[in-house]
């Protein structure tokens, strides 16, 4: 394994950790969504890196699918944010614990 390959993996791990930390700490649902994107990108990075190490294209194809899922997730997530904000402007993720029914 080349040292640069290890570099990709380490970078991806740090990026993932930052995303996870942000998801756990931030309250704004939009920012939380962005943090999810960060984590997804970290994973994408490892996929491509591993694919390169193994000389396999499957890693890149998987990333393509992750992209699609991420797009779908953002669409639905934003839909939820819009619906939430319409009922209560300025609501944070902590506020939706009163959701019921």
């Amino acid at each position: 394994m080349r040292s640069i390959d290890a570099g990709y993996l380490v970078l991806a791990a740090i990026l993932f950790s930052i995303g996870a930390f942000g998801l756990l700490v931030r309250r704004n649902p939009l920012v939380m969504l962005m943090c999810v994107e960060l984590m997804l990108n970290a994973v994408n990075l490892t996929f491509v890196a591993f694919g390169m190490m193994l000389g396999d294209l499957a890693g890149q194809v998987t990333v393509l699918f992750v992209l699609v899922v991420a797009a779908a997730e953002v669409v639905v997530g934003l839909g939820i944010v819009v619906a939430m904000a319409r009922r209560r402007p300025g609501a944070t993720a902590d506020d939706i614990r009163v959701l019921r029914g």
Binding site: A6, I14, L24, V48, A58
Partner: protein, 204 residues
């Protein structure tokens, strides 16, 4: 495959950009600033893709992520006017930040330690027979062939997934005729404005 000096330089630069952008996402209180930081990160990742000979993915990354997703997020921020600055001084959930920090540090530390300790044995998977990377064929052609042969079912299923997502988004963001406002926990919160009656109802 030999590693060129250019590769190292590009990696180092991009790594700095990516991490700085990521920090920006979780650091800025204003969501607009966070979204712009995200663009930096995504762009950095796109360049890293290029560095790893994944040209098609780099292009898609720029178009889909920075061009579509972030723009969508920014659009929602502007539409809803939720670009209020978040108060990050206080944390209502006891211990949330400490534990989050432990988790983040633990994940990063464990992976870094694993990569360092694992060394050459870390990547020991078998190489794919059908989808191995061939140097003299363009990246986009290879991915295209693979997508429409080996992964054709997965591709079709993503189409279904996207359709479902579109329908879900429409259903959720539709303006309902009667909206029950969430009970206000905080007294300072403004009650939602009363819904305007639909035009048809007025004429009825």
């Amino acid at each position: 495959m030999e590693t060129t000096a250019v590769e190292y330089v590009v990696f180092a630069l991009c790594a700095v950009i990516v991490l700085a952008g990521a920090f920006g996402v979780i650091w800025f209180r204003n969501p607009v600033q966070a979204a712009l930081s995200l663009v930096a990160t995504l762009f950095g990742v796109a360049v890293l893709f290029l560095n790893m000979n994944a040209q098609f993915l780099a292009a898609v990354q720029v178009i889909v992520y920075t061009g579509a997703i972030v723009v969508l997020i920014l659009f929602v921020i502007m539409l809803l006017g939720v670009d209020v600055e978040e108060d990050l001084e206080e944390e209502p959930l006891v211990g949330q930040r400490v534990i989050a920090l432990v988790i983040a540090a633990g994940v990063a530390g464990l992976v870094v330690a694993g990569v360092t300790l694992g060394g050459a044995d870390l990547v020991s998977g078998a190489r794919s027979v059908t989808g191995s990377i061939v140097d003299d064929v363009s990246n986009i052609e290879q991915i295209g062939r693979l997508l429409f042969t080996e992964y054709v079912f997965a591709l079709e299923i993503t189409a279904v997934l996207l359709t479902i997502a579109v329908i879900a988004a429409v259903v959720m963001s539709r303006r309902p005729s009667e909206v029950e406002p969430l009970p206000a926990e905080n007294a300072s919160m403004e009650p939602p404005e009363p819904m305007e009656p639909e035009a048809e109802e007025v004429f009825d």
